[in-house]
């Protein structure tokens, strides 16, 4: 009997386990998945908790429930991978051998990476919404908000769901208006990037929206420290932004297990072939989701598309055949823009988000890079899709891992990459 071992039962690990159990010969292969936490969180829901749109029960369910029969589920903390010996050590001292290893341990916020971040203001007027506990605490603080300087801030890139901080200020704007507190609130968006988003066409449109909503933007701000006494953040080039409430996205890093295993880069992300998802250092280690260093968004949609590619590659690898599938970096993200509307982005390694219709040309029903009510409804419907289709590993109709040009209107000045010609 051979072993396939999956580390992490989040979005990517769970999808992989459920696809593998359907495709692998379970008489020859034993599939094991390990996770340190019993609860599975619907992380996109963390964005809505601070505004009371989702409650705790909307976003959390037991992990085990989503891992189907035929897969051994182990609740344990992984200490390290010993890649040369093809084995994984758990914190409890247990050793798990593997023939094929899938690393899906994701990324998590590490506020300690910024000087002063976890000081006296932490949890009081410095918050984050990238964890369940953080989103809950922020909801409580916002509930007592009477106005002042509300600063949304990103420490450094890359972060998972790079549009979430923008969505936060858009939602905050409409939430404040409803509560009659917008006049008393200065909304400020502080980013290490030179624009609102990482890609030019989308960045321009989103910048326009920030301006329209009178949200002040501070660009190219690389945080050096948090001054807890004067309640301000200070950049390396000594610029300052004062806050009454700071909502920050701390540095995102891969799990420290990756560092202990000697497999990561400076942020504990694992160097991975961006097309095959094979680790660059070991051919029987594959990496999926936020744990990779692949240059696309760290997002659940990406984890889902990657899983379609990885399943084929792993099937081939176990048969000793060349890896057939190529991941193109496809990402598909809804952006909440407030007042019951939203945007949709569709892009990959080679083509930035552009306007158009999705998934059917001319029909949609979703509109790319355009603010519509239907996009918002799509985002809200996604929670159901996540729990009932995505995690169990069911295919999502009409949305495949390979991005297409169909339905897209390429603006002047945007080059169509050769990989997409046709």
């Amino acid at each position: 009997m051979k072993n396939i071992l999956i580390l992490g039962a989040g979005t990517a690990g769970t999808i992989m386990a459920n696809q593998l159990r359907k495709k692998m010969n379970l008489e020859q292969w034993k599939i094991t998945i390990v996770d340190k936490e019993g609860d599975h969180y619907y992380q996109p829901g963390f964005l809505f908790m601070p505004f009371g749109i989702y409650s705790e029960s909307d976003v959390v369910k037991p992990k085990r429930r989503f891992v189907g029969a035929g897969v051994d589920y182990l609740e344990a903390d992984v200490d390290r991978i010993e890649a040369e010996q093809n084995q994984v050590f758990l914190k409890n001292g247990e050793c798990l051998p593997y023939d094929v290893l899938i690393v899906a341990t994701g990324t998590a916020p590490v506020p300690e990476e910024t000087e002063g971040m976890t000081g006296a203001d932490w949890g009081k007027n410095v918050h984050e919404f990238y964890t369940f506990e953080g989103a809950k605490a922020l909801a409580k603080t916002l509930d007592g908000w009477q106005g002042g300087r509300l600063v949304m801030h990103i420490c450094e890139m890359p972060i998972k769901c790079p549009v979430a901080p923008l969505e936060f200020v858009f939602l905050a704007d409409s939430w404040l208006r409803k509560r009659g507190l917008r006049e008393q609130t200065e909304l400020i968006y502080v980013t290490p990037l030179s624009g609102a988003f990482t890609k030019p066409v989308a960045s321009k449109i989103l910048s326009g929206l920030l301006e329209e909503k009178q949200i002040e933007v501070v660009n190219d701000f690389n945080i050096g420290s948090v001054d807890n006494e004067e309640h301000k953040i200070v950049s390396w080039d000594e610029r300052e932004v004062a806050y009454d409430l700071l909502v920050t996205v701390p540095t995102n890093m891969g799990d420290s297990m990756v560092e202990r295993s000697g497999l990561g880069d400076e942020l504990n992300f694992i160097p991975t072939d961006k097309h095959t998802l094979q680790s660059k250092a070991h051919e029987n280690i594959f990496v999926i989701g936020d744990a990779t260093d692949a240059p696309t968004s760290k997002a659940g949609s990406v984890a889902h598309f990657e899983a379609e590619v990885l399943i084929e590659n792993i099937m081939a690898f176990t048969k000793g055949e060349p890896l057939p599938e190529k991941f193109d970096g496809h990402a598909n993200c809804f952006i909440e823009s407030g007042n019951g509307k939203g945007f949709l982005l569709d892009f990959n390694y080679d083509l930035e988000p552009v306007p158009g219709k999705f998934p059917l040309p001319g029909i949609g029903p979703m509109s790319l890079l355009t603010e519509t009510r239907l996009n918002h409804m799509g985002k809200m419907a996604f929670r159901w899709v996540y729990w009932n289709m995505l995690l169990p590993g069911h295919p999502i109709p009409m949305v495949g891992h390979r991005m297409t040009l169909t339905g897209k209107n390429i603006p002047e000045g945007v080059k169509i990459p050769e990989s997409l010609d046709a």
């Binding site: 450094e156 890139m157 390396w236 880069d265 400076e266 990402a331």
Partner: protein, 104 residues
């Protein structure tokens, strides 16, 4: 691609002044490019440039601040002192590398 004459030689650059053909780059050119940014190159600057070039050759991307600090061993404070304003962009420009793409 616009061309630009610097030090009496013509080089290809993009709209933001980043070189588009690294084979045209050399140390004298680096000094001239730095001067345009108001920087006169010292050993400290060369340590940064050498690291960025070596890392670019290996990875194909301009390293970020954390990487230059953690892997390259150059403290962020020092980096800002050497290349005031936007250190990564300035260092990349002087090194004759493309404009750093912001991470996704």
């Amino acid at each position: 691609m616009p061309d630009k004459t610097i030090n009496g030689v013509s080089i290809s650059v993009d709209d933001d002044g980043f070189m588009t053909d690294h084979s045209q780059w050399n140390k004298e050119l680096a000094a001239a490019l730095a001067e345009e940014e108001g920087i006169s190159l010292s050993d400290g600057h060369w340590k940064v440039i050498d690291y960025i070039l070596a890392d670019y050759a290996e990875k194909g991307t301009v390293p970020g601040m954390r990487r230059i600090n953690k892997v390259g061993g150059i403290p962020t404070k020092e980096l800002y002192a050497l290349f005031p304003g936007g250190p990564i962009k300035k260092a990349a420009k002087v090194s004759g590398l493309p404009k750093p793409t912001s991470c996704v």
